[in-house]
Symmetry: C2
Subunit: 250 residues, 2 copies
Amino acid sequence: MNEQDFLAAYDPNAYPAVAVTADVVALTIRDGALHLLLIRRGAQPYAGHWALPGGFVRPDEDLATGARRELAEETGLGGEPLRRVHVEQLASYGAPDRDPRMRIVSVAHLAFAPDLPDPAAGTDAEAAAWVPVAELASRQLAFDHRRIVDDGLERARAKLEYTPLATRFLPPEFTIGDLRGVYETVWGHPLHPGNFHRKVLSVPGFVESTGTSTERGGSRGGPRARLYRAGDARLLHPALLRPAKEETAR
Amino acid sequence: MNEQDFLAAYDPNAYPAVAVTADVVALTIRDGALHLLLIRRGAQPYAGHWALPGGFVRPDEDLATGARRELAEETGLGGEPLRRVHVEQLASYGAPDRDPRMRIVSVAHLAFAPDLPDPAAGTDAEAAAWVPVAELASRQLAFDHRRIVDDGLERARAKLEYTPLATRFLPPEFTIGDLRGVYETVWGHPLHPGNFHRKVLSVPGFVESTGTSTERGGSRGGPRARLYRAGDARLLHPALLRPAKEETAR
DNA sequence: TCAATAGTGTCTGTTAGACAGTATCGC
DNA sequence: GCGATACTGTCTAACAGACACTATTGA
């Protein structure tokens, strides 16, 4: 049998049904706090529970495309603002009993977004909201989404160390202080302003000067700060390491 | 409708058929060279082509379990030797046209193994072999497996920097020189023996002394080396950074 | 004896981090 | 003026990398 005959005779339904979803851990910074996009499920199962935005991958779309589409549907975002959102694959979750309906493998994605407008509830969702990550401890999430969120947060913290993705939380032009705010928010530690400043400027390709400065000083005083935009580096050398990981890694 | 009624009425076949496979990028070191486990496909599609070991995930097994099972089937490995193989998820690949049969999402895994015996051809495979990574350039791989292998190799190189997984390529007891050989093989650079030695011993939890030494010196002379086993660290602090990444990252 | 390796000591350039100091702003 | 911030200078401890040296082994 040649390949053509083989394909003609092939029955896709001969195998047990599996479904694949693209779910998104979408992070943004609002009011100086890290926020996660959650939806309240309107349909079974876990109706009424908070969950990650996501849904079944369509037959003609790539996994990342599916994740972007789901994100767009939940946030009402499109065009240039959506293009500025960074989306990458996080990991896949496929425990046999993770969904009571059937075998569902979730390909989770991680998204970094600048401060976005409040989301509008989409098709399957009763509600959608940016939820402060600090409040997650007191909420119950559907499926194994707690685990996915934890993995996503850890990935985000790690990615800030060796990639310039912190700039994806900011508008196209930003100050070094703004950038430091992103690191402090995601890592949860205050950083030394002077050392951070020098370090950022010393990493080639991390930021590039716009030649301009802010119109006004900070809200609490201080000189006008110079404005920068993201540079062309895709990895930071040397990396900005998180302080004091301690020996907890062992 | 409550959740129970909903589930009873749920039809898993109402959605377009998707299949999920677990594929494995299995690496080992033989004769001082990095090798990859490949099989020659005996069935359509891509019959006769070399491909990664893998197959459909069974209804009752987790993704990682499926990857381990496929690896065991191809290598004939089991029991304690199989337990010593490190398997982790790499990434998922789901381009709509990556498999001509139907929509197949491959959850790729990465495996680090000590020197293993030659594999035996399994059920679907005409042949199976450890192939030197250096020879991959001249071989054509099925599906998008070239891309998966490239991603796996880059992940492996990066993982050696900040995890103690290099020890997974070695027997339970090894010398610092053995460990250096792993790094040199995977990274493709010679390392400074003296500095490497001191660095490894300075990282807490990377290796621990067995109190014993090798019975004989090296095959080309030299004193007997002290033996170590893997320590309890899961991350290396500080990391062993690759030398000279240059500015290629930009 | 010779070549190769294990393991240690030492030096230097670089860097992270602490601290200080000046200039500029909002209030 | 006062407090806060932007940005720069300086010092120190830690570290990577280069080099050197001794001791021990196989051939």
